[in-house]
């Protein structure tokens, strides 16, 4: 059991194709590139036959883009957020395609490694702070960390707390997506190990465990599909919320 779980964790760890090269593709970056390629192919095919009344794949792409534009960007930031739609849309589809790709058995989710998720989280951190500073200027942006009406003796404490909460944002953003993808695959693997053990040592208990673990595989796969879409949504909506917060920084 321990040995099998060790094997599972090894399979899910980042393994470079070439040990000697300084910059080598790893199993995760390979599938990340596949995910990006699929995303590009999907949108190129969808937009090639653009018409007023789209059909088939074009319809799907249009519904998805419309969801991000109206369901996330305009909903959270209002009409003034529309100019950040390209950035937020890129994040959404990048994360969505890589999350979903991880559900096809030989593939790994490109987002299932800290390298990818923390890169996006740090980009989001830089972008939303940059937007805030550009909008109101550095001085006013920093001053906006302290809400107006705070008593003077409390201001340094509030300021410190606010700085900490801002610095924690990229950390939680990155860890949430990574851990969801990673944990999902470990869960699937653990139930596969249960099934394998039940076949190996076929006892009356094993006869009960075996169909149950197969059933759990199916249920967890469906759950993983839902999680893949939900996590892409949450990552994107939090990005929109952070940018929206920075846009309205100087207003109180």
């Amino acid at each position: 059991m321990t040995e099998k779980i060790g094997h599972l964790l090894h399979e899910l760890s980042v393994l470079p194709f070439s040990e000697s090269a300084a910059f080598s593709l790893t199993n995760y970056t390979f599938w990340l590139l596949v995910g990006i390629a699929l995303m590009i192919v999907f949108f190129v095919v969808a937009s090639r036959k653009a018409s007023l009344v789209p059909s088939g794949i074009g319809n799907l792409a249009e519904a998805a883009v419309d969801f991000v534009r109206n369901g996330i960007v305009v909903d959270v930031m209002g009409p003034e957020g529309k100019k950040y739609f390209p950035f937020i849309g890129t994040i959404f589809f990048f994360v969505l395609f890589n999350n979903l790709l991880g559900n096809i058995p030989p593939a790994l989710p490109g987002t299932g490694t800290v390298g990818t998720t923390f890169t996006w989280a740090i980009i989001v951190f830089i972008v939303y702070n940059g937007i805030g500073i550009k909008k109101v200027g550095l001085g006013r942006y920093i001053k906006s960390f302290i809400p107006s009406g705070t008593p003077g003796w409390l201001a340094p404490l509030i300021f410190l707390l606010e700085i900490i909460s801002h610095l924690l944002r990229p950390f939680t953003l990155g860890i949430r997506l990574f851990a969801n993808m990673y944990a999902g695959h470990i869960m699937l693997g653990v139930f596969a190990i249960f099934a394998a053990l039940a076949i190996e040592h076929f006892t009356p208990v094993g006869a009960i465990v075996l169909p149950l673990s197969f059933l759990m595989q199916i249920i967890l796969r469906l759950f993983e599909l839902a999680v893949a879409v939900l996590q892409a949504y949450i990552f994107t909506i939090l990005t929109a919320v952070y940018i929206s917060g920075a846009l309205h920084a100087g207003e109180h």
Partner: protein, 70 residues
């Protein structure tokens, strides 16, 4: 010993997050029942809250792996 620590890290982290998720879910349903016309915006806010609470449970999960590896 580190395995026990890992189990405690994830278990105790999970309890807190589970209570939080339950409160968020229950309150959202309650609010939706009271004001169905606000359902869309409530759902968006709910997902934001869910994401933030979930991160706490997942920190425990990651910590469990770190403890187990060390």
């Amino acid at each position: 010993m580190s395995a026990l620590g890992a189990a405690l890290a994830f278990g105790l982290g999970g309890i807190g997050a589970a209570i939080g998720l339950a409160i968020v879910g229950a309150k959202t349903i309650e609010s939706m029942a009271r004001q169905p016309e606000m359902a869309g915006r409530l759902q968006t806010t709910m997902f934001i809250a869910l994401g933030m609470i979930e991160a706490i449970a997942l920190l425990g999960f990651v910590l469990a792996f770190v403890l187990n590896a060390g």
